[in-house]
C-alpha cells in the first residue's frame, strides 16, 4: 500500500478522487459537532461556558502531535526507502501542523485567561508545545532555504527525525511535572475522566478536523506535485 502509490502521478489521481469525499465528510461532521458543542452539551460546573473552547483546543492539540508524527514517519521512509512521495507529504504537512499548533496555543491562551487568570504560564505542557511550534517553523524555513528542493527535503527529514524527541515530552509533560495544565482525561480508564455529554461533540469535532486536515493535505500535495512538474519543465527549457 505504501509503495503502490509512491508514484506521484498515481497518487495525484487518487487524491483528485478522494478530495471531494474528505471535504464533504468534514463539513458533514462539522455541523453536528458545532450544534453539540454550542447547544447540546452542558456548561462545566466550574468553568461555565468557557469550557466550549475545549472542542476546538483539544482536537487542534491532538493534530499538532499527530501531524508531527506523520512528518517523522515520512522522513523515516524518505531516508531509508527513498520514497518519492514521503518528501512531498512531509513538506506539505509542515505548514498545516504549524497552523494547528498555533491554533492550540491561541485557543489555550483564550481559555487560560478566564480559568487560570493568565494568558500564559511557563509550565511544561505549554512550553513544550511552543517548542513544537518553533520546530515546525524551523522545518518550514529549512525546506525553503535550499535552491535544490531534494537537498532541502533530505535535511528536513533529518531535522524532523531529531525533533521527534519532543513528542514524548509534550505527551507526558503533564504526568512528569506538576503543571497547571490538567492531565489527560479522555480515556475512560483514567480517573477523573470526561463525561459522555462532552465527549460526543469532541468526537464529532475531532473527526471533522481530521477530514479537514486530510483534504487540505491533499490540496497541498497536489499543488506540490504540479510545482515539481513545472520546475522540471522550466529546467528542461533552460537546457
Amino acid at each position: 500500500m505504501i509503495f503502490k502509490f509512491a508514484n506521484p502521478l498515481k497518487f495525484q489521481k487518487l487524491a483528485k478522487k478522494l478530495q471531494p469525499i474528505t471535504i464533504s465528510l468534514s463539513l458533514l461532521l462539522l455541523f453536528p459537532g458545532l450544534f453539540y458543542s454550542f447547544f447540546a452539551s452542558p456548561p462545566d460546573y466550574l468553568q461555565g461556558e468557557t469550557v466550549r473552547i475545549m472542542y476546538v483546543h483539544v482536537p487542534c492539540a491532538w493534530f499538532s502531535l499527530m501531524i508531527y508524527s506523520i512528518i517523522a514517519i515520512c522522513s523515516f521512509l524518505s531516508i531509508i526507502f527513498k520514497h518519492a512521495l514521503a518528501d512531498i507529504i512531509s513538506r506539505s504537512c509542515a505548514p498545516i501542523g504549524a497552523c494547528f499548533t498555533l491554533a492550540t496555543l491561541v485557543t489555550g491562551s483564550i481559555w487560560g485567561k478566564p480559568t487560570w487568570g493568565t494568558w500564559w504560564v511557563w509550565d511544561a505542557r505549554l512550553t513544550s508545545e511552543l517548542v513544537l511550534l518553533i520546530i515546525y517553523l524551523g522545518l518550514i524555513i529549512l525546506s525553503n532555504s535550499y535552491e535544490d528542493k531534494k537537498k532541502g527535503d533530505r535535511y528536513v527529514s533529518i531535522l524532523a527525525l531529531i525533533g521527534i524527541v519532543n513528542l514524548p515530552i509534550i505527551k507526558w509533560s503533564v504526568d512528569w511535572w506538576n503543571t497547571l495544565h490538567q492531565p489527560a482525561s479522555i480515556s475512560k480508564f483514567s480517573s477523573p475522566s470526561i463525561d459522555a455529554s462532552m465527549l460526543t461533540p469532541l468526537f464529532f469535532m475531532t473527526f471533522s478536523f481530521f477530514f479537514f486536515f486530510i483534504s487540505i493535505l491533499l490540496v497541498r500535495i497536489r499543488g506540490e506535485i504540479i510545482q515539481r512538474k513545472i520546475d522540471v519543465i522550466k529546467f528542461n527549457q533552460i537546457r
Binding site: I79, T127, V131, L132, I134, I135, L137, G138, L139, I141, L142, S145, Y146, K151, R154, Y155, I158, L159, L161, I162, G163, V165, N166, I169
Partner: protein, 216 residues
C-alpha cells in the same frame, strides 16, 4: 578505529594550536558579552548576582554556536571535510574529534573565566561549584547540537541565521535543567547526563547523514 581517532584528534589539536587566535578571541568575547549585560542592566550590585547564571548560559550558548562554525565551515570551504571522508575516516569519528577539541577550546577557558568574572559581579561563591559542574555536564550536549546545526546550514550561501533558528528548540531542555540546579534539585545532574546520553548517538547519526548528503 582507535588509530583513526587519534590521528583525527591530533589533526584537530594541531589546527587549533595553529589557529590559537580563536581561543583568545573567545575569551575576550565571553568577558565583553558579560560586561554588555551588566551595562544594559545597570551597575546595581544587588540585582546582578541573580542575573549572573542566565547571562553566563546565554553567552556560552552564543559562543558555542559561533565557534562551531569555525570548525565545520572552514573545513568545508577548504575541502578538508570532503577529503577526510574520501580517505575513509568514519563520519562519526570526525564529528566526535571536532566536538572534543571544541570542548577543550571553549569550556576549559570558561571554567577559569567564570570564577574571575563572578568576583566582579558579586556572585555568591557558594553557588559557584554548582554552576561549574552544571556547565561541565551540559556543555558536551550543547557542543554536539551546535556542530550538527552548523552542518545543517553549511551549504547555505545566504540566510546563515537559519543555523540559530532550526536548532534553538533543542537547546531549551538543556538550558531549563542546567539552570534549575540552583534551585537545589539534585536530580537535575542526572537529567543532564541523561540528555547527553541521548544527544550523543542522535547527533552523531544525524551528523553522519548530513555529511553524506553534503558530498552528494
Amino acid at each position: 578505529m582507535i588509530t583513526d581517532f587519534l590521528k583525527l584528534l591530533e589533526r584537530e589539536i594541531n589546527l587549533s594550536i595553529k589557529n590559537h587566535s580563536v581561543l583568545f578571541s573567545f575569551s575576550v568575547f565571553f568577558v565583553i558579552s558579560l560586561l554588555i549585560f551588566v551595562f544594559a542592566f545597570g551597575p546595581n550590585l544587588d540585582d546582578i548576582p541573580n542575573l549572573y547564571t542566565p547571562v553566563v548560559w546565554v553567552v556560552l550558548l552564543f559562543s558555542i554556536m559561533l565557534i562551531s562554525d569555525n570548525f565545520i565551515h572552514n573545513d568545508y570551504l577548504d575541502g578538508s571535510l570532503k577529503e577526510l571522508q574520501f580517505l575513509g575516516y568514519n563520519e562519526e569519528l570526525i564529528l566526535s574529534c571536532k566536538s572534543i577539541v571544541m570542548w577543550g577550546i571553549i569550556i576549559l577557558p570558561t571554567l577559569f573565566l567564570i570564577p574571575i568574572c563572578s568576583l566582579f559581579l558579586n556572585f555568591k561563591l557558594l553557588d559557584l561549584p554548582n554552576l561549574l559542574i552544571n556547565i561541565l555536564l551540559a556543555s558536551p550536549s550543547l557542543i554536539l547540537i551546535a556542530l550538527v546545526s552548523s552542518l545543517f546550514s553549511i551549504q547555505l550561501k545566504r540566510n546563515r541565521i537559519l543555523q540559530f533558528v532550526i536548532i534553538f528548540p533543542f537547546f531549551v531542555p538543556i538550558i531549563i535543567f542546567s539552570t534549575s540546579i540552583n534551585n537545589s534539585q539534585n536530580n537535575s545532574f542526572l537529567i543532564l547526563i541523561g540528555i547527553f546520553l541521548v544527544t550523543l548517538p542522535v547527533s552523531l547519526t544525524a551528523g553522519r547523514l548530513i555529511m553524506k548528503e553534503i558530498n552528494k
